[in-house]
Subunit: 345 residues, 4 copies
C-alpha cells in the first residue's frame, strides 16, 4: 500500500482524484487538505460522496509533516502555490504530482511571462506529465507537472503528425471547446447558470495560458520551433473537451502516412482510441473515462488536415491523467483504478 | 463464472447493463440480441464502448438456444415481449430478470387493464425485483420482474412510513421528475433536442403505468388498500429521477418515529443513503451510481410529511437494480460490480 | 408620455423590465439605479442591450429627486428595501410598482414572521398586483405589490376552483418547478453552472416565502382560511415555471363545473390561455411572453383534480406582470408593449 | 397591405417566420402550406402560438393559385423543392424569398456538385439574400436566395477584411458552432435529447454545403478566388451560432485598418453590432434578435486575425434575414417587425 495525500482537495480536480484513488487497491489516503474548508468532512463539501468517503480536511500548514507521512503527494492548488509546497518537500523522499502549471515548463521564463508570477523553484527536478509522450521520464521523476486539460487534447491530437513531419508547423490552429467544470468551482458571474445556459462563447483568444504548454511539447516532439494559435470556447455542459486542430499538410502527408503515424504512436496505448480517418469523436463518448478519442479528416481542396480529439477534462485532462502518471511513477500497472467505462448517455 | 445473456441489448437500459456486467468478475456474457441491429457490433450502436466491448448482436429467434447457453437472462424489451420469452424458457433451468413490466404484477388483470395487452404467462413463478423489500423472495426466484424507475424511487421513499403506519395512505401524492433517458432511445418529436431543451412539462397525468406498480408494493408492505396520485414530469437532463412524496401524518408520526422507521428499514442497506430530516437529495449526487438518497421534511402547518428520493433512472432505476437482483439470485455479494462512485459534477 | 424610473435595475427582473419598457410607446425612462454599478452604462452590465439601451445607472441616494421626476417608479430591490423607498415617496404624487415582497401582504405581521424583518411602512396604501384578480383595485393604487413568480402561477391555477368552491381547500398541494433565473443574478455555489447542469433538486420545502402569499390570495378569493403545501424545485434551465397543483374535488366538481369556472374567470383574459382538460402546458410554450397557460386533469380513481400552469418567471412572473399592472394603473390598454410572441424552440 | 404566403411553414424557420410576420403591420398572411400537416391548424403543430395564430395549413398542390393570391412568397422547403415552385411561378408577378439553397448560387454547377441534384431552374433571375452585402440587388429582385445560417455569420465576419484585402485569403479557416435547431425539426437519433445533451461534436468536416456559399460571396466581395476551410460543430443548446474565423494578416493589416474596414462597411448597419477589437460576442447576447455581433482579436505572435461573430440561426440566420430582405424588396423600412430585443438570460 502506498500512502498518498492530496493538497487542495476540494476543487473539481481534487474531488475527481479522490473518487478515483478511493477505489485504487494499492492506495491509502493519509491526508487531504483545504484551506477554506479545514476541519470539515469531505462529504460535507461534496455530498455525492456521502457514506463513501468521509475523511476530514486538514490545513497544509504543516506540509512537512504531511510530506513525511506520504509516499506521493498530489497538488491541486491554483498556479503559483504548488512551487512553495514543492520547495518545502525538496529534501524529503515524497514524490509529487502537481495538477497545476507550476512544474509544466522546462523554461521557467515562459511560465513567468504567461502567468505573471516569479517562479521560485526553478531548479526543481521535474518532468512533464503526459504519459503517452513522456512515460519513461515519468517513471523515476521526483516532481511531475501533470499536463493541462486543453493541452492534453491538443498535444495528443497533433503529436504523431509533428513527430513524423507530416504538417507545416507554422500553420497549426487549435480551436478548442470545453465544458464549464474546467473553469473551477468558484462561483462567478461568468459561470452563473443562467448566463451560460443556452449560450456559447470564446474566451482568452490569442493569450490563453495553455498555448505555450502546447508549443513546448510539440517543439520537443518535432524538434522545430512552433508558434501556434489556440482558441478556447466555453460549451454549456459540465464536462468534456473537443479540440479541432488544423494544419497544412506537407507533400509526404497522405491518408496512409497519417494513419501509420497514429498507429505507430498510439497503437498500443490503453487510453487512446484511434478512431481513424473521417470519424467523429464526441465528448460524451469519453465522459467519465480516461480515454482520449482521436480522428482526422483530410481536406483535399485546401490541403489541410483536421484532427479531432475528445477527452473528459476532469479525467484524462486532470485527475485520471494524474493517477495514470502515479501508476507509472509507482511502478504499477498503468490502468489500475482507471478501468471505468464512459457513462452514456 | 456465470453465463449471462441480454435480450434487447440496444436500449439505454441494455447498454447500461452491458457496461456494468462487462466489469463483473463472475460474469461471462454469452449472447446479446437486438432485432433492429442484428449482425452489428455493439460498439457500432454505442461508440462510447469502442475498444471496450465489441460483441456482435444476434437475433432472439433461437431463444431456446440462447436460454440453453445461459445461467441467467436479462430481458430489456418493450412490455408485452418478455412474457413470450419467459414462456419459451419455462422448462429450462435458466433464470430470468426482466427489466420491463411483464412480470411485475402479482395480479395480471391489473397489468392487462393498464397496459392494454393480454397477459400470456399468468402462472409464471415470479417475484417483484426490488431488493430492499423483496430480498428473500429474490434469492431463489425463477423470474424476477425488476422494479421500474419511478416506482423504485417512490416505493423506497414511502415504504418505511407505510410499513409503520405513520401516514394516512389515502392522502399519498407522488410528484416525480425524470431525465429524458427514461423515455428510451427511439427518436420522436417529444424527445427531439430543441423541443425539450430549456423546457419542462408534465405527462401522463393520472394514468401513468407506474401508478399500479407503486400501489401494489405499498399495499403489500402496509397491508392496506392504497390508491394514490402519481404524476411524472420530464426534466431537460439526461439521467436522474427525483420523487417528491406527500402524505398526511398520523398521530404517532413524529420526527422520532419517522427517523426510526427509516433506520430500521434501511440502516443496513448498502445502496440506500438515508440523509435524514430536512436534507435535500439531488439527482447529480447519485448520477452514475446505484444509490437511492432519501430525506424527509415535516410540515407542521399542514400536518404533512414530504419525502424526497433521488436515483439514477438507468442504474438503481433499471440496470443497476437488475445486477443487484442478479447478485442476490446468484448467491453473490450484493454489491459486486456496483461499487461505482457517483460522477460529479 | 409617462415618466418612469427603475430602482434596482440590474437584477434579471430589472433588465427584463427595461427590455419591455424600452419598447413601450408611452413611456420615457428617466432614471435607472443600481448601487453596485452606479455610473456605468446599462449595456456594460447587460451586453445584449448594446446599441439598444445605453442609459447610465445612478444611485438611489436622492430618491426624492427621482420620485419627483417620475410618474411611476418600479422597484426591483431585494425585500426589505422597497419599504424605505415607499415611505420616502409617500407624500409625492409618484406611484409605485414594487416587484419584491414588501407590499404584497395586507397583514404585515405575516410578512414579518416569514421574512424575519420588521415592516416599517405598515399603513402604506397598497394593493396586490395580480391583474387578473385585482384589476379594479390596481387602477387607482398608490403602491402596487407585484405578485411573485411562483405565486402567480399557483394562484392563477387554483383561483377558479377556490372561487367556485369546487375543491377542499384543506387538501391543496402545490408542487412547483422553476428555471434558475428565478434565483437572481448573484453568483453562488448553488447556482454555479456545473453544480446545477444535468441536476434536479427541491429547496425550501415547507417554508418557502411564497407560501403565505398564495394562501392570502386564495383565502381572499374563496373566503375561507387556507393552509397549503408549497414545494419549489430548481430545473436546469434559464426561464420558466410549471406549477402542478393537487386538491381533492368536492361533490359539485365535475368536468363541466371546472371548465365553466375557468371560462368564467379567464374567458376574456388576454394573457391567460385556458388549454382546458387533459392538456399539457410546457414552459417553452410561454417563454419570453406574458402568457399563463393552464390545463387540468381529473383523477377519478383518487378524487383529485390536478391543475397545471406555466409562465415565464421573468415576464408574467415579474417584469411583464409589472408592466401589465402599470398599463392598468396608467389607464392604458393592458397589453401595450406586452404583445410579444413566445420564442420557440 | 402586402399579401404574403409561406410554403413549408412547419419547420423551425417557417414557424419563426410566421412569428415575425404575424406582427408585421404591412403584411397579411394569405396561405401557409405543409404537406405533412395539411388541414391542421398551425397552433396544433406549434402550441406556443395557441390563441395567437391559428390559420389552417394547406397543400402546395395548387401553387399557381397561391402565387396568384400573393405579392410575396416565402419558401422554407428542403433544398431541391424550391426550384420547382420558382419555375411554376415564373410568369406570375409574385416575388419569391427562398430560405433554402436552391437560389443561392450564381453558378448552378457548384450547387449541383455539392447538393447532388440537378438544378432545374438555371436561368432564374435571382440575387443572393444577404442584405448588408447585396442590398441594392435585392430591391428589385424577382427571386431572393436567402443566405444560410452559417454563411451569414461567416461572410459578415470576414467581408470587411476581404474587401479591403487585409488578409491572405488562402489562409481562411472558419470554425463554426451551432445550436441544434439548425438541424431542423425532424426527429432522428443524432438529435435525440439524451444523445446531444452534455455533449459536443463536429460534423460534416471538409464537406459541409455552406462552404461553397461562403466562398462565392467572399470571392465576389474580394475579387479573388477563395478556397477555405469550414467546420461546423453542434452545441447542446437550442439556438445560436458562433463563428470563429482565422486568417493570416497582410502587411497593411493593423488594428487601425481593421477597425476602419469594419466601420466603413457596417457603421450604418442597423443589424450589425461591431463590438470592436478584443471583445467577445456570445450567442445569448443576440438570441431571439436579428443582430449579428462581431469582434476581432489580433494575434501578434502568429500574425493572424481571429474574427468572432454571433447570430441567432433562426433569426438573422433564417427568418429574420428573410423578413429584412422582404422589407427591402417591398420598399419598406428595413427593420419593420424586426425591432425585437434579445431575450436574456
Amino acid at each position: 500500500m502506498l500512502k498518498v495525500s492530496i493538497i487542495g482537495a476540494t476543487g473539481y480536480a481534487g474531488a475527481e482524484l479522490l473518487s478515483i484513488l478511493y477505489r485504487h487497491p494499492q492506495v491509502e489516503i493519509t491526508h487531504i487538505t483545504s484551506e477554506s474548508h479545514t476541519g470539515k468532512k469531505f462529504s460535507e463539501i461534496y455530498p455525492h460522496l456521502n457514506g463513501i468517503y468521509n475523511q476530514t480536511l486538514e490545513s497544509l500548514n504543516d506540509i512537512e509533516k504531511i510530506g513525511g507521512d506520504s509516499d506521493f503527494i498530489f497538488i491541486a492548488l491554483p498556479h503559483g502555490h504548488a512551487m512553495d509546497v514543492g520547495k518545502k518537500l525538496e529534501s524529503l523522499p515524497v514524490r509529487i504530482i502537481d495538477l497545476g502549471a507550476d512544474y509544466r515548463f522546462s523554461d521557467t521564463s515562459i511560465y513567468e511571462s504567461w502567468y505573471n508570477v516569479p517562479h521560485t523553484h526553478k531548479n526543481a527536478p521535474r518532468v512533464y506529465g503526459l504519459a503517452e509522450i513522456y512515460r519513461e521520464e515519468i517513471r523515476n521523476a521526483k516532481i511531475i507537472g501533470n499536463a493541462g486539460c486543453f493541452t492534453t487534447a491538443s498535444i495528443l491530437a497533433l503529436a504523431p503528425l509533428v513527430r513524423h513531419h507530416l504538417i507545416d508547423v507554422n500553420t497549426i490552429i487549435i480551436d478548442a471547446k470545453s465544458g464549464v467544470s474546467g473553469a473551477g468551482r468558484s462561483p462567478k458571474l461568468g459561470n452563473h447558470f443562467p448566463e451560460l445556459y443556452d449560450n456559447f462563447k470564446a474566451y482568452n483568444v490569442a493569450h490563453h495560458r495553455h498555448t505555450p504548454e502546447i508549443e513546448q511539447a510539440l517543439e520537443d516532439i518535432g524538434g522545430e520551433k512552433i508558434i501556434l494559435n489556440f482558441t478556447p470556447h466555453l460549451v454549456p455542459m459540465s464536462r468534456g473537451i473537443l479540440a479541432t486542430c488544423y494544419a497544412n499538410i506537407k507533400e509526404n502527408c497522405t491518408a496512409g502516412t497519417i494513419d501509420a503515424a497514429f498507429q505507430k504512436m498510439y497503437g498500443n496505448e490503453k487510453f487512446i482510441r484511434v478512431l481513424g480517418r473521417d470519424a467523429y469523436p464526441e465528448t460524451k463518448f469519453v465522459r467519465g473515462s480516461n480515454y482520449c478519442d482521436i480522428a482526422w479528416h483530410i481536406d483535399e481542396r485546401t490541403g489541410r488536415v483536421i484532427v479531432l480529439s475528445a477527452i473528459d477534462n476532469l479525467v484524462k485532462g486532470a485527475a485520471g491523467q494524474a493517477v495514470q502518471n502515479f501508476n507509472i511513477a509507482a511502478g504499477l500497472e498503468e490502468d489500475i483504478a482507471l478501468d471505468f467505462v464512459p457513462i452514456y448517455p
